[in-house]
C-alpha cells in the first residue's frame, strides 16, 4: 500500500497550503483570444505535425489524423480471406445497434418506442462504455437566467466556431427534454428539496448549467438506461461480447446489418437489419502520441473504421481532446479522470511553488495546453517517482468555499479512487496532467443521426461535427442522450420503409483493391477490438 505523497511532494504541498488563503480571494484572468491561440499552437498535442499523417485511402483521403488511427482506418478487413454465406442469417432485426453504451441504449429505447424490433450488440458487457465513467455532469439550459441560445453560443465558441450549426442547434434544443426524459426514468440528479436541479459551471460555460449525480453522473445515467432496456426483453435483445467486425451492405448500396465476432468462441454471426446504428464510442485506447487515457478498455475506434470502410463521410479526425486533469500520481491510476467538477466547485490549478498560472475554467484544450506549458516550458511541474510530471489541483479549497463535507458529498468516487492508493483529496491537493479523453471528430451526421450511407445512423462519441474542434464538459453525456434518442427514433421510423436487397460484402474486396492501389503495405487488421497490454503492465 502506498503511503501517499513523497517528501518532495510534501515540500511543494506546503507552498500550496501557504498560498491558499490569498488564492481564495484571487481570480486569475482568463486568456484573451490571441493568448488562447498562442498556447494551443505551441503546446496542444493536435498541433504537433509529427503526430499525424494524411489518409491514403477512403472517402476522406488526404484528411490528417493521428498515426494510430490512420493505421486502423487503412487496415485490412478481418474477413478478407473468409468465405461467409450471407444467406445463413443468424439474427434478423429491424434496427441493429452496434454498441451498448449510453448512446446505443438510448437509441434502443427510442427505436422500441417507434415499434421496431431492436438488437443491441456490444463488445464487452452492456454498459461497459465511456458513458459509465463520465463523472462531472450533463449540460442543459433549463434555468431562468439561461436558454438554448446562450448554450449554443458557448458550444460554438468552445469548438472555435468550427461546429456544424445544425448539429449544435439540435443538441441545445433537445437538452432540457433529454434531462426530463432521464428524470422520468428515475435518474437521481442532484436536486434541491423542492426539485430544483442543482447546476454549476464547467469549463467554457457562461451559465451554470452542469447537472450532476454526485460524481457518478455518467454511471447513474448508464445504469438507469441499462435497467430500462432490460425492462423490454421481448423487444430489445442484447448480445454481449460480440463486436461487429464488418458492416454488411445490400446490392442497392444500403447498409443492411453486420458481421459479429463472438469474442469467446471465435464464431461469426450474420445480422440482417433494415437499419443500423453505430454507437461504439471513442478511441482513447489507441493512446495517441503515447498519452495515457481516461477511456474505457474497449475504446478503440471500431465504429469509425467500419463506417469508413463502407464509404461514410468523416470529419474532425485531426482533433482529439486531452482532458486537463488526469491523475499524474499515484502511479496505479495515472491517466484516470479527475473530474472537471473539481474545478467547477472552485479548486484552482497551481504549480510547484503553489502559484496559479491559468484560469481554472478555460475550455479544455486551452486549460490542458496551459498545464503542458507550465510543466514542459516553464519547468514548474512536480516530478513523480515513476517519471511522470504534474501540477496541483487544489481540492481542499472546495470545503473552504462550500463548507466542510462538500468534497465527500459531491465527489465520493474521486475520494474513494485516491484513498485506495493512500491519498486523501479532502486534506491534500491532487497531482494532475492532461490525459487523452475524447475523440472530438468522427462519422459525419445529419441532425437526425443519419450518416452519408443509406440506412446507417450514428450517435455518441462516434460522431463528428457537434463539438467542432473542442468539446465542452457536460456536452458528451448530453450528445449521447440527445443523439442516441434522435438516431433511435429516425432508425425506428425508417426501418418501416426499407426493402433490403441481396446482402453483400463486396466492399471488403473493393477496400483491398483500394489499399493495393494506394500502396498501403502494412498488414494491420482492423477494427482493433481490444488493446493489447499483455506484458506491458500499463
Amino acid at each position: 500500500m502506498n503511503d501517499g505523497y513523497t517528501p518532495g511532494m510534501r515540500e511543494s504541498i506546503k507552498k500550496v497550503e501557504a498560498t491558499r488563503p490569498a488564492r481564495l480571494q484571487e481570480t486569475w484572468p482568463m486568456m484573451t483570444p490571441v493568448e488562447k491561440q498562442e498556447v494551443l499552437r505551441k503546446f496542444h498535442p493536435d498541433y504537433k505535425p509529427e503526430g499525424m499523417r494524411e489518409l491514403r485511402v477512403g472517402p476522406a483521403k488526404g484528411l490528417r489524423t493521428p498515426h494510430e488511427l490512420a493505421d486502423l482506418l487503412e487496415g485490412h478487413s478481418m474477413l478478407r480471406n473468409e468465405e461467409l454465406d450471407l444467406e445463413q442469417v443468424d439474427f434478423e432485426t429491424d434496427v441493429l445497434i452496434i454498441g451498448g453504451g449510453g448512446a446505443g441504449s438510448a437509441a434502443a429505447l427510442l427505436a422500441r418506442e417507434e415499434g421496431a424490433q431492436v438488437l443491441v450488440v456490444t463488445k464487452l458487457r452492456h454498459g461497459d462504455a465511456n458513458t459509465m465513467m463520465a463523472q462531472g455532469g450533463i449540460q442543459a439550459a433549463d434555468k431562468p437566467e439561461d436558454n438554448p441560445v446562450i448554450h449554443y453560443l458557448d458550444v460554438m465558441g468552445g469548438g472555435h466556431f468550427t461546429n456544424d450549426p445544425d448539429l449544435v442547434e439540435a443538441l441545445v434544443r433537445d437538452a432540457p427534454e433529454a434531462i426530463a426524459w432521464l428524470e422520468s426514468l428515475g435518474c437521481m440528479f442532484d436536486k434541491e428539496p423542492d426539485g430544483t436541479l442543482i447546476t454549476i459551471h464547467g469549463g467554457g460555460t457562461s451559465r451554470k448549467r452542469m447537472h450532476s449525480a454526485r460524481d457518478y453522473s455518467g454511471a447513474e445515467i448508464m445504469r438507469t438506461l441499462r435497467d430500462e432496456v432490460r425492462s423490454y426483453p421481448d423487444e430489445i435483445e442484447v448480445i454481449e461480447f460480440a463486436p461487429a467486425i464488418e458492416l454488411i451492405m445490400d446490392d442497392k448500396g444500403q447498409a443492411a446489418g453486420a458481421v459479429l465476432l463472438n469474442l469467446e468462441t471465435g464464431e461469426h454471426y450474420i445480422v440482417r437489419a433494415k437499419t443500423t446504428i453505430i454507437a461504439t464510442g471513442g478511441s482513447g485506447r489507441l493512446h495517441y502520441q503515447d498519452f495515457a487515457t481516461t477511456n474505457h478498455y474497449g475504446a478503440t475506434g471500431d465504429g469509425v473504421i467500419l463506417a469508413y470502410r463502407v464509404g461514410a463521410d468523416v470529419c474532425f479526425l485531426d482533433t482529439m481532446q486531452y482532458h486537463p486533469t488526469g491523475a499524474a500520481y499515484p502511479t496505479q491510476i495515472v491517466g484516470l479522470l479527475v473530474t472537471e467538477k473539481v474545478r467547477g466547485l472552485g479548486a484552482q490549478v497551481c504549480n510547484i511553488e503553489g502559484n496559479q498560472f491559468v484560469y481554472p475554467r478555460e475550455t479544455r484544450d486551452v486549460e490542458a495546453s496551459a498545464i503542458i506549458r507550465e510543466c514542459v516550458d516553464a519547468d514548474k511541474g512536480i516530478q513523480t517517482p515513476s517519471g511522470f510530471v504534474g501540477v496541483w489541483l487544489d481540492s481542499p479549497m472546495i470545503d473552504l468555499i462550500h463548507g466542510p463535507g462538500t468534497i465527500e458529498k459531491e465527489l465520493p468516487a474521486m475520494v474513494r479512487q485516491f484513498a485506495r492508493f493512500g491519498v486523501d483529496i479532502v486534506k491534500d491537493p491532487i497531482l494532475v496532467y492532461p490525459t487523452l479523453h475524447y475523440q472530438n471528430g468522427g462519422v459525419s451526421l445529419k441532425a437526425d443521426g443519419a450518416t452519408s450511407i443509406p440506412n446507417l445512423y450514428g450517435a455518441g462519441e462516434i460522431s463528428g461535427g457537434v463539438h467542432g474542434r473542442n468539446r465542452l464538459m457536460g456536452n458528451s453525456l448530453l450528445e449521447v442522450t440527445v443523439y442516441g434518442r434522435r438516431a433511435g427514433r429516425a432508425a425506428g421510423q425508417r426501418c418501416k420503409e426499407v426493402s433490403l436487397g441481396q446482402l453483400t460484402l463486396a466492399h471488403v474486396g473493393q477496400w483491398e483493391d483500394a489499399l493495393g492501389e494506394a500502396g498501403v503495405e502494412a498488414e494491420i487488421e482492423s477494427p482493433l477490438i481490444l488493446p493489447d497490454y499483455t506484458r506491458h503492465g500499463r
Binding site: 464487452l124 461497459d128 449554443y152 459551471h201 474505457h296 479512487q417 481490444l530
Partner: protein, 227 residues
C-alpha cells in the same frame, strides 16, 4: 516504472512474478493474460473486475476491484466477472413507490438474515446490510441514498446466504426514488414547454445565420454568471 521490485502472486493457483507497483489488473496483463472478461472501465466505475483474494498465511478472503487494488506479495487471486443475480421484470411507469412493490418484485427481500456478509464483501465499502434493512422497512429513499455508489459488481450476491439480489433491489429503489419520491424539476418542465412551443425558434435561427465575425464578437463579450 522507474524501479521494479518483483513479487510473487498466484493467479488461480499459478505463480507469477510481477512488479509490485501494479494493480491486480495490471499484474494479470503483465503475466500475459489478454483480458476479455473481468475488465471494463479500468477506473472503478463499471464493476466488471471484482476479484477475490487471500494473502499467504492468512485464511481471510478479501474482495477488491482488480483495477483499484495494488498487488501484494503472496496474493492468491481469482476474478469473478459475472454472477447470475435475478432481476425482476417491471415497467417503472407502472409501479408505485411502496414497500409492497419492492416485496412483490423481490419476495426474497423478507428472507434477509441481516448477517452483514454483503457489507463485508463490498469493494466500494457500502453499507449493504443497512440498505437491505431500509428496504425491509420500506424506506426506499434511504436505500437509494445508501446504495448510490453501487457499481453492481455482484459480489454481495455471491456471498449472500439468503440469495438476495442486492444490486438489483437497490437500482429499483433508486429509480423509484428518482421518479416518484423527489419532486420533479418545475423549471425544467417549463423550459421543455417553451422550446416545444417555439419560444427560442427565432433567436436560434438568428444566431445560426450570424456571420462568424459577429458570432466571435458576441462570444468574446458574453457575460459570465458569477459563482
Amino acid at each position: 516504472m522507474a524501479e521494479t521490485n518483483m513479487i510473487p502472486i498466484y493467479i488461480m493457483g499459478k505463480q507469477y512474478f510481477v512488479p509490485d507497483a501494479l494493480t491486480i489488473m495490471g499484474a494479470l496483463e503483465y503475466a500475459g493474460y489478454k483480458l476479455i472478461r473481468g475488465v471494463g472501465c479500468r477506473a472503478a466505475f463499471c464493476g466488471a473486475c471484482a476479484t477475490v483474494y487471500r494473502i499467504d498465511g492468512d485464511p481471510k478472503l478479501h474482495i477488491g476491484l482488480a483495477c483499484g487494488t495494488q498487488v501484494e506479495p503472496g496474493m492468491h487471486l481469482t476474478q469473478i466477472p459475472f454472477y447470475p443475480a435475478e432481476r425482476a421484470q417491471y415497467r417503472l411507469d407502472e409501479l408505485e413507490p411502496t414497500f409492497a412493490t419492492m416485496v412483490s418484485l423481490y419476495p426474497q427481500l423478507l428472507k434477509c438474515l441481516g448477517c452483514g456478509t454483503c457489507t463485508k464483501s463490498c469493494p466500494q465499502d457500502l453499507q449493504v446490510k443497512d440498505y437491505m434493512a431500509a428496504a425491509m422497512r420500506g424506506d426506499i429513499s434511504r436505500v437509494a441514498d445508501l446504495s448510490f455508489d453501487c457499481i453492481m459488481c455482484g459480489m454481495c450476491v455471491s456471498r449472500c446466504p439468503a440469495e438476495e439480489a442486492q444490486p438489483n433491489i437497490a437500482i429499483l429503489a433508486r429509480r423509484l426514488h428518482g421518479r416518484y419520491l423527489t419532486p420533479r424539476a418545475e423549471h425544467l418542465a417549463e423550459r421543455v414547454t417553451e422550446i416545444r412551443t417555439g419560444k427560442y425558434d427565432d433567436e436560434l435561427a438568428e444566431i445560426k445565420a450570424m456571420p462568424e465575425a459577429e458570432l466571435r464578437q458576441r462570444y468574446n463579450t458574453r457575460d459570465i454568471e458569477a459563482d
